[in-house]
Amino acid sequence: MKSLMLSKQDVLVIVPAFNEQESITQVITDIASCGYKYVVIDDCSVDKTRRRVIEAKGEVLTLPINGGVGAALRCGFRYAIDHGYKAVIQCDADGQHPVGHFDNLIDAMNEMNADLVVGSRFESDLTSMSLSAPRRAAMYLLARIASRYVKQPISDATSGFRIIKSPLLESFAKSFPTYYLGDTFEALVVAGKANYKIVQTPAPIVDRQTGRPSSSNSDSVRQIAKVLLVTILGLHTKIPNATDSRRLLFSEKESY
């Protein structure tokens, strides 16, 4: 089956943002200067995040209820499909993700004919993130489990810096785990179990410059236990198999 070769114009950058007024202008300016289209999903911020985006003449969707990163991403997926994009890049609004590496994600996706490419902070020498030992251990555990489901080595299962293309994008727009770690780890498990091709590429991720992380340490422990339980018991989100979804996508295109 013929694969979809992506170019910059086919890709929409989704920037979920919650109270990121300090950094959002710089992030979207950088994205636009790289020639990418973007949409900021304002997750019911109480600061001037939305105003900053409008002042920069950017595209912004404002969720009336705070639903977390996963809910914002799913909204972005739906927006991308509605506007005819073939793939999306997820990019944090706090300046952690390297905007200059978007091209690498697209290249990796095209070269390896992947459905999802994860930007791994642990594969890049340029990463400058300080991680505590317990957090690093938890990330290692999640990465090992995700690798089993994905059937590929994944060193950074919790990285939010990734690119997703059709038909996985359509599946995620309908069913996407929106809770903390669901949008990263569980999404990999779900896609892997549905036989989508997932690969990783090095991505230098840096410490956040401003704002606060979306989850505290105690909350992280609780959420890790939850996501592991969901995965082990097989209670995770279900999406259609990759082969069926590709067949449906190509039959829809041919019918035009």
Binding site: I41, L61, R74, C75
Partner: protein, 81 residues
């Protein structure tokens, strides 16, 4: 329905004790313990049913949340034109 069943069972639990005695003797526990266990079972069932309902409501709210954001975006674009 679940709450009604639980209330009836709790209020009239004592009346059904004679019918429960064979079960309590078989299980070698007191009849009131059997009534209590039945109440707990009904209560647990109600909680599970409520949990499922809440999950469904959360999904609907989440979708409405997204729809609302996209509609607002469309209306704002329409206003600009």
């Amino acid at each position: 329905m679940g709450w009604t069943a639980l209330s009836v069972l709790t209020f009239f639990g004592a009346l059904v004790v004679p019918f429960i005695e064979p079960i309590s003797e078989f299980l070698r526990i007191g009849p009131f313990a059997v009534v209590g266990a039945m109440c707990l079972f009904v209560l647990l069932s109600i909680c599970i049913q409520l949990s499922i309902s809440i999950s469904g409501m959360q999904r609907q709210i989440s979708k409405l949340n997204e729809d609302s954001a996209m509609l607002r975006n469309m209306i704002e674009k329409f206003d600009v034109k």
